[in-house]
């Protein structure tokens, strides 16, 4: 085992600082999910639209989001947009990248869920005098969210894990960024990142458990 002495105390002393980072991580992932879900619903509607001008951009978004690395998408937001004179902070770039990615994946989830809803329901809504938009909002959307709840939860976990990529564009306030900062000061890489890994694990499990409880509460008949 070489002649390395583990210094865990140093890592534990930094624990409160890392927890603050974990809050930023949660904040980014929740924001990215809110933005992602909103855009994903629009994309899902756009992909099945009759007009080609709606379908093409929505399809392009989904295919790019699903066929390139998340890290590439974050780089695109951070370095790429600079060519157009748009300079995003690491926080904004990370948020934009993850939201872009979430929207692409969630769109396909939502489309699958929508296909599971019988088309007759929409027609029933229309024949009750609802407009297209109202029927969609009151009949399709709630069922769609219900059917796709678990896959959406998985995407939330993905979003949490993806926030760790912020450190590659220089974000130093989220959990991975804080840990990297501490690491750069002391070079206790293993200790600090092991603690970070435990925190990530606990967050992921807590979110999963919370979603399960929420699902049991929300979706009982």
């Amino acid at each position: 085992m070489g002649n390395y002495t583990f210094q865990w105390r140093q890592a534990f002393r930094a624990f409160p600082e890392m927890l603050e980072g974990a809050l930023v991580t949660l904040q980014i992932s929740i924001l990215s999910m809110l933005i992602g879900v909103t855009i994903a619903v629009l994309l899902a509607v756009g992909r099945d639209a009759k007009s080609r001008w709606l379908r093409a951009p929505a399809t392009a978004w989904v295919e790019v989001a699903r066929n390139t690395p998340a890290l590439f998408q974050i780089y695109m937001a951070h370095f790429g947009l600079g060519s157009f004179g748009i300079y995003l902070s690491p926080y904004a770039a990370l948020l934009a990248g993850i939201a872009f990615n979430n929207a692409g994946y969630l769109c396909e989830t939502f489309r699958g869920a929508m296909r599971a809803i019988p088309g007759t329901q929409l027609r029933a809504g229309r024949s009750l005098g609802m407009g297209q938009a109202k029927a969609f909002r009151l009949i399709i959307l709630p069922q769609m969210f219900r059917i796709s709840f678990l896959p959406t939860t998985n995407q939330m976990i993905w979003a949490i894990l993806m926030t760790s990529l912020g450190v590659t564009v220089g974000l130093n306030s989220d959990l991975a960024g804080v840990t990297q900062d501490l690491n750069a000061r002391s070079f206790r890489t293993f200790e600090f990142f092991a603690l970070a890994a435990v925190i990530y694990y606990v967050i992921a499990k807590a979110v999963m458990l919370g979603a399960r409880l929420l699902a049991a509460r929300l979706f009982r008949y």
Binding site: G2, F72, G82, A176, F193
Partner: protein, 217 residues
């Protein structure tokens, strides 16, 4: 924007990076699939309680960011004094990461085979091994292959993270060029196009397989 200083040699440099991406992916997917099939069969055969330690360990690989896993593994091999190269470390970590997902796919696919079919095989006099290789695997393959293709593409995209350990794969190669040429948008677009060209046809193949095999059911 299209008046670029990117030369043919730079493009070759990026393609070489893409080659590294592909080789890391290949090692990870081959290793991860072998491990994943083994763990998956094991998990579907023994009781959930007996499999609990394995389930827990594999779950860690799915609940901790890959970047953190890579950093931890690299730090650990340095502490242990093994002197493994970053390339091998990344391949091992990615293979374990792949195996965690592959186990779930294999287990799900095996459990999708109706138990009456397996009992029928056994009552025809097939041994446990024959049942597994002649009945379960062919049927499970149809269920599992589309997700496995998705997993392979996912690993290829996630392999971009190995650049943190200093490996010059496609995305890192593009960063080196961006630093030199100062044309981030154009070079990143080329990078994205390469990733897209690698991933999109296989993704299409996967969804087509999925659709075709569902029709025959």
């Amino acid at each position: 924007m299209f008046d670029t200083a990117l030369t043919f040699n730079d493009l070759l440099f990026m393609l070489k990076g893409a080659g590294v991406t592909l080789s890391v992916t290949a090692f990870a997917v081959v290793g991860g699939t072998l491990l994943g099939v083994f763990f998956g069969v094991l998990r579907s055969q023994i009781s959930p309680w007996a499999a609990l330690p394995l389930t827990f360990v594999l779950d860690i690989f799915r609940s901790v960011p890959l970047l953190i896993q890579l950093i931890l593994a690299n730090a650990f091999q340095a502490i242990a004094g093994w002197g493994i190269s970053p390339f091998v470390t990344s391949c091992i970590v990615l293979a374990l990461y792949t195996s965690a997902y592959c186990t779930e796919i294999v287990r799900g696919a095996i459990e999708a085979v109706p138990s009456v079919t397996r009992r029928a095989a056994r009552s025809l006099g097939m041994t446990w091994g024959q049942d597994l290789t002649q009945i379960v695997f062919p049927m499970a393959l149809r269920v599992g292959l589309p997700s496995w293709i998705g997993l392979t593409l996912g690993v290829m995209k996630d392999s971009a993270l190995v650049m943190w350990l200093g490996i010059i794969e496609l995305l890192r190669a593009s960063q080196i060029l961006v630093t030199r040429l100062q044309e981030p948008m154009f070079i990143l677009l080329v990078t994205g196009a390469i990733y897209f060209a690698l991933s999109f046809p296989i993704a299409r193949l996967g969804s087509r397989l999925e659709k075709r095999w569902q029709e025959n059911d």
